[in-house]
Amino acid sequence: MSVKIYVPGDSAALSVGADAVAEAIQREARKRRLDVAIVRNGSRGLFWLEPLVEVETAEGRFAYGPIEAGEIASLFDARFLSGRAHPKAQGRIEDHPYLKSQQRLLFARCGIIDPLSLDEYRAHGGLKGLERALASGSKTIIEDVIASGLRGRGGAGFPAGIKWRTVAATSADQKYIVCNADEGDSGTFADRMIMEGDPFVLIEGMTIAALAVGATKGFVYIRSEYPHAFAKFDAALAVARQGGLLGRSVLGSSHAFDIETRLGAGAYICGEETSLLDSLEGKRGQVRFKPPLPAVSGLFGKPTVVNNVLTLASTPWILAHGARTYADYGMGRSRGTQAFQLAGNVKRGGLVELAFGATIRSLIKDFGGGTATGRKIRAVQVGGPLGAYFPDSLLDTPLDYEAMLAAKGMLGHGGIVVFDDSVDLSRQARFAFEFCAYESCGKCTPCRIGSVRGAETIDKIIAGKDSEKNIALVRDLCTVMTDGSLCALGGLTALPVISALDHFSEDFAPRPSRIAAE
């Protein structure tokens, strides 16, 4: 019998040579006349160990990483096929503290199964949620999702079940499920991991949503920066149709549902739900005025559920294990688990799924192990480019929607980017404006003009011109953008800017001393 070896096909693993590693293993095995079967799994999310090679043995899956193609012969020499010792050995992967101290509900299968095997998906608990949904019907599904406390994981945190209830209650000849896979926030990669590592859970979640609201057609809008996720998810859709999960009769029922993938085109703003809808319709991705809500008049004017990948992919677990069990995780009004993503200047970057309420510090210290450069942590940006920069004194803030708001930040999509003490927060504040200007859809003035004026004004501050006056101007501008912008891009650009000004004011001080110091 052949030995099963796992080499992730996740694009992060590919970015550090996973394909070459897989080829080298195949070649070396042939040379030694050993029978191996290579599975291209998703990533476990322990990215500092990628490419992470796993071998299946009677005692479990033993891991080795990070592996380079040139080390393969030494792995065979060390008899890694029996899980033996090697300088890169990580032991039984399930026992790895990084994984063991997580609460993986949504990511339970990611990195474990062959992403395109519907049989393995089922064998690891897949489709149980959908089967329950088919048996219980729309009303019960929506009640369950409401009771679970699931809130939108894209960043807005709106209760998913309430959105679904609105769509279900709106009558129309056609309704849509739109999955927002335009994961543009720097520091985030959880959506990508799901699409590449466990695509069926998203398909199952979208199908559950379709049953709940009476939709027959779904779209997944995937950003063009994710060509591998796009290809993998498309391949998964074909397998799902073949396996009777999608099509005229979902799992043999009277319900019809199918999903189409659409590729974005490099516009961050299309992660905003109404821009995304316009983009799907073939227009410029400009933000729409609300009301009407997409739930009432969304894609092509029809009632539409627009949810993030992680929101939709959380529903199979909720349906399979019960709303109460899900709601038992978390704190306050943030129920369940959140896929935190540790990124930037951090030693052990990766995916950490935990119940809401973990602190920023515990994530970057206990999981992340401090900075990659070995220098002191100076700032941590939580929630993507529109999230606040936190100083050391605020790192004990719990990661939940309300606590983050109270700390004048936001949780967003769960990205956590660490900066060491070489960071200059005046530059980061300038970048926040610059990014907003670059990505603004241009529809509303505070965002379109404010972002440009903001960058210009910070330039003056950096140059030491009328610092005090210009800082006051930036603060004023931020108020206008927050209160007057049509969507979160202009409306939240103030978070990184104001947090930088509040917590790192020394970086905005008139320059002479700093220039001399450099």
Binding site: A12, L263, S279, A343
Partner: protein, 157 residues
């Protein structure tokens, strides 16, 4: 290396025709054209407008709204280098400077066609392995000046 075809009105018409009846067909059409030719030629605007029964201004508006669509061939290889926060924290700006100083490659320059075109991208979703880049669609993590040297040399060869 992904070889792109020279602009061809006939092929363009076929690509438009095949997609025009999809719901919201414009982006799929533009992607198909850019996939085939490496850019969207101005000559495509009128036939797209005709096929979708919208104005040429609307098509132009969409083509120019999205960062992806090029209005001229890229020439050689395309390296997208991430300059968002996570990659900033790991020194992507120093790498951008290295490309300029050591190889004379300026990011996002619009004039001239060389063997390697370098474009800014904001996030490739590979933030735990920053700095990140993508070369003709292939992801590159833990980017270093040495890796950039190899890419630049290979593109010139």
């Amino acid at each position: 290396m992904t070889r792109k075809l020279a602009w061809d009105d006939k092929l363009a018409s076929r690509l438009i025709e095949e997609r025009k009846s999809q719901a919201g067909a414009l982006l799929p059409i533009l992607h198909a054209l850019q996939d085939a030719f490496g850019y969207v030629d101005r000559a495509a605007i009128a036939p797209i407008a005709e096929a979708l029964n919208i104005s040429k201004a609307e098509v132009h508006g969409v083509v120019t709204f999205y960062h992806d669509f090029r209005d001229a061939p890229a020439g050689g290889r395309v390296l997208k280098i991430c300059r968002a926060e996570s990659c900033q924290s790991m020194g992507c700006e120093a790498l951008v400077e290295h490309l300029r100083d050591a190889h004379g490659l300026k990011v996002d320059r619009r004039d001239g066609v060389g063997p390697l075109k370098v474009e800014t991208v904001y996030c490739l979703g590979n933030c735990a392995l920053s700095p990140a880049a993508m070369l003709d669609g292939q992801p590159i993590g833990r980017l270093t000046a040495a890796k950039l040297d190899a890419i630049a040399d290979e593109a010139r060869a």
